[in-house]
Structure formats: C-alpha cells, structure tokens
C-alpha cells in the first residue's frame, strides 16, 4: 500500500502518439517514467467524450450508473438542451470516497468537477466553470488563482482563427496551470492529488493533421507543446516523495478528422426527425408530433417515446422496431467518397449495463425501467459508433450532412493510455472505468459497493 498517490491526467493524448514520441526520444521524462512503470493502451467509454470518460474515471462506473452521457443533455420535460455539470453525477466520486476514509484530497481542472462538491481538501473546477471566482468554494483558493493569472481553458475561438494563436494560447494556459499545480502540490497537505491538463485535447483538435503531415510551419509548434509537457512531468516526478505512486492517464486517443457529420441533419433527411420551423434555435428545436427519433452529440439517438418524452410519439410496443429501423439507416450512411461512416450501433442495454455489471434496477422489467428509472430514462436509446475520421455532431438545421471546419482531430475510443508506477493495473484489455478501484486499492481504501 502506498501512502500518497498523484494522478496527472493529459486529456486526449493517444497511446500511439506518446509511444512514437518516446521512441523518438522527444519526451525523455515520459520515457523515464515508462522505464519504471507500466505503460498500457486502454479503452475509453461510449460516447467517447471527456465529460463522460472523466466522470467514469472519478466514479469508477459506467455512464449507466453515474448518469453523464455527454456535454449536452435533454432538459427534463421540455424540448431543449441543458449542460450537465457536477450536480448531474449520481454517484460518489473518488474524492468523496477517499474523504469518507479520512484521506486528504486535491483535484484541479478535472472535467465535470464544477460546481465543486464538498470534500476533505480542495477541489478546483473545470473548463465548464464560467469565471475564476467560481472555480473553488474557498475564497482564498480563488484569490490565489487570480493572482497567478490562472486560465480556466484555452480559447477555442482563437484556435479557429489561427494556428499561431492556438499554439500561443495553449502554451500560456498550460504554463499558468502548471504553476498553480506545483503551488498546491507543495503547499497543501494531500494523500490523493489529481491535476488535469486540458490543453493537449485542444491542441489535437486543432493541429493534429498539421503535425502528422509534417507541416513545415506548425508541426514543430505541436511537438514543442509535448516537450513542454514532458518538462513539467519531469519536474513533477522529481518533486514527489519516494513513497508516492504516480498515475499518468488520458481519457481517449485522437485520430485525424475526415469530416464532421451532421447526424441530426441526416435523421431529418431520412424522415426520423422533423424541424419545428425553418431554422433551429437549438439542437432539440424539433416538431415532436412528427419526429420519431432525434440525436444529441456525439452519436446519441433517442426514440421519441410516448409517456417518457414530452409529447412522445412512438408507442412502447414499437420501441424496438423503431430502434432497429433507425440503426439500419445509420449503418447505411455513406460519405461522399463512398466510405462507410458508422461502424456499429449499440443498444443502451448492451453498452451501459453489459452482462456482469449491475443494472440500474435489476428487478424491474425493461419496459417499466424505460418509464420509471431516472438513470435508465436518461440514457440514449442507441449509440452510433463512427469509423475513425468521421466525427458525429448534431447540425439539426445544417445545409449538408458532411462538413469541414477548423477541427483537424477527433476522439478515438481504443487509444487512451495509462502510465502507472506504484499501483497494480487490471489484467488484459481494460477501460478507464476499471482503473478507479485500483487507485483506491493502492491507497488502502475499499471501493464503494456499486463501483464497476
């Protein structure tokens, strides 16, 4: 059993990319850590997006239990979207489990931590927080963050304007965040310390293709951010006491974008969804009387089910028939070059409550669950899983299904990573969901009974 444990999470860094950089000796501290730790590729979650993946890590649960399925959610009893925050998480987090065990905890910038829940220690919220003065419950912590010009996130609008602005913004945001991280690492008492870097995700979204194609102007800038990150990891390793375990992990990998896919627009074309008017005011601005299905990003499909949805259209007895039919249409989607776009379409019960895992309410028949169980009712009815390169968006009133924007990279399910020193990892292939109980075990704390 270790006395203290640090998690340093690097959003969206692909196992494959980091391995290449290690082999090329571009990131010598990651390489040093790998020489004394386990370096493994792992799976993410469905849908493969940071809010869902990090909630799965901090709860050690499938989305079917913790209840977070994306960055936007259906607003209950209304045709509109809401933004899930930490208040949407139905389960105990690792910080809370450790606090209950008397451990002192710290968390910074981990997605889905705003507004910060009560723990024995300090939590600093994530990029969904609107302003620095709301990042933590402690006024003192907020004042410190302001004093070092802490940045909540890099600005994606700048990245859309120019790669130069993107690189400069990502670099400065990373530097400010690392300064704060080392401050709290040294100044606070902690048994469990988790600091999160979001900048790697932003970098890959906007510059991955330029790096992979060896762009003369920007590939070097991309690499420079990873060298900078490597320097911070080296400093972190040197600062840790010898009895501390260290876990570096990402929540998903990245691959190059071929096109953004406006899936809501496709459902309109196929007659599953009908717009309320000519232009959509928001992603669920649909006519429920003429819509049998609708979509939320990324690849979540909901049946407009009678008695579950406001003005639900599809009767319960047609639920599976509709799911099968819309799945056929999704699998038939082809890109302009003839590529298949959707690799598979998963039913909610197979992805969120797989065999062997605890269901949301095991004694209740499935059709009753649909209507009465909060967690089950919130889950998408189908999850479309795309082939690498086809990023599933919404685009309800878009002009075209396929779109090209400034985004160059998209999330990849199979290529997350973990580098772990001082803890045991699961045997065989595993997912980010399964790491949490090993982190708790390393600290000698039993996992909550409902952890996967």
């Amino acid at each position: 059993m270790t006395k203290r444990l640090v998690v340093f999470s690097i959003d969206g860094v692909a196992f494959t990319l980091l391995k290449q950089l290690m082999d090329a000796e571009e990131v010598t501290n990651f390489r040093r850590l790998a020489s004394e730790a386990q370096f493994r590729q792992m799976d993410s979650v469905y849908p493969t997006v940071s809010s869902v993946a990090w909630t799965s890590f901090v709860t050690g649960q499938q989305p079917g239990k913790h209840g977070v399925y994306g960055f936007v959610e259906r607003r209950p009893h209304a045709w509109d979207v809401a933004i899930p925050l930490s208040t949407s998480i139905r389960s105990k987090t690792i910080w809370e489990a450790l606090s209950d065990a008397g451990k002192r905890v710290f968390g910074m910038n981990v997605p889905m931590t705003y507004p910060c829940r009560s723990v024995n220690g300090i939590l600093i919220g994530d990029f969904l927080c609107p302003t620095v003065d709301k990042l933590a419950t402690s006024r003192e912590v907020c004042d410190y963050l302001r004093s070092v010009n802490y940045r909540i996130d890099s600005d994606a609008m700048l990245a859309r304007k120019s790669p130069d602005l993107c690189l400069q913004d990502v670099r400065e945001t990373l530097d400010r965040r690392m300064e704060a991280m080392f401050h709290f690492l040294a100044q606070e008492k902690w048994d469990y310390f988790h600091a999160h870097v979001m900048e790697t995700d932003r970098l890959c979204h906007f510059l991955l293709a330029k790096y992979e194609s060896g762009d003369a102007k920007y590939a070097g800038g991309f690499l420079d951010i990873f060298r900078r990150l490597d320097g911070y990891l080296g400093r972190l390793m040197d600062a840790l006491p010898s009895d501390s375990a260290l876990v570096v992990l990402s929540d998903h990998g990245f691959c190059r974008m071929k096109a953004e896919v406006q899936l809501s627009r496709y459902l309109v074309e196929k007659g599953w969804t009908s717009l309320r008017g000519e232009a959509a005011g928001h992603p669920l601005d649909i006519d429920p009387a003429r819509s049998r299905c609708y979509s939320l990003i990324p690849g979540r499909i909901y049946v407009n089910l009678r008695s579950r949805e406001p003005e639900g259209l599809v009767p319960r007895e047609d639920y599976d028939k509709v799911r099968q039919a819309v799945a056929r249409d999704l699998l038939a989607l082809r890109a302009p070059n003839g590529d298949r776009v959707i690799r598979q379409v998963l039913r909610r019960e197979e992805v969120y409550w797989p065999t062997g895992a605890h269901g949301p309410n095991p004694g209740m028949p499935p059709d009753e669950l649909l209507a009465h169980d909060d967690a089950f009712g919130a889950a998408p009815d189908l999850v479309a899983v795309p082939f690498d390169g086809y990023d599933l968006k919404m685009g309800l009133a878009a002009d075209h299904v396929f779109l090209h924007t400034e985004l160059e990279g998209m999330h990849a399910f199979h290529d997350a990573l973990v580098l772990a020193r001082g803890i045991e990892l699961p045997e065989g292939r595993f997912s980010i969901v399964h790491l949490t109980r090993h982190v708790l075990a390393a600290l000698g704390v039993p996992p909550p009974a409902d952890m996967d």
Partner: protein
C-alpha cells in the same frame, strides 16, 4: 402533520389553492402529467443539489460555458 400512506410509499402535502392554480397554468403544455409530478421533479432536483453541496449555477450564469462548448463544436 402530512398524511402518509404506507401502501403507496407517498405522503400528501397541501398547497395554497392560488399557488396550485398558478403552477398548473405554468406547466400547461410543458410535458408534466400533473402539478404533483412537477413539484416532485423540482424538489428532487433541489434536494439532490443541496445534498452534494456545490450550488448549481443559474441559467444566466452559464452563457460563457455555452460559448465555450459552441466554439469546441459541442453546441
């Protein structure tokens, strides 16, 4: 004292009639089956938030968050 039913697992509370009528008009067409359903939804949400601490921000406080998500392509 509120009236409790052991068989249904539910407790009856009383609302002032003018308030009941206002709420009834407010939720008309919003998808709720009854005022009771609406009140249960609101109270569950409220209790859930207070139990976890972390005050949920008001809708207007999330404009900047919406902007970020839009720029990232999530909205």
């Amino acid at each position: 004292m509120p009236r409790r039913s052991k068989s249904s697992g539910k407790t009856t509370i009383k609302l002032p009639t003018p308030l009941y009528l206002k709420v009834s008009a407010l939720i008309n067409g919003a998808g709720y089956n009854s005022v009771t359903d609406f009140v249960v939804y609101v109270l569950r949400d409220l209790v859930g938030q207070s139990e976890r601490l972390g005050r949920a921000p008001l809708e207007g406080e999330l404009d900047e968050t919406r902007r970020k998500l839009k720029n990232l392509g999530y909205l």
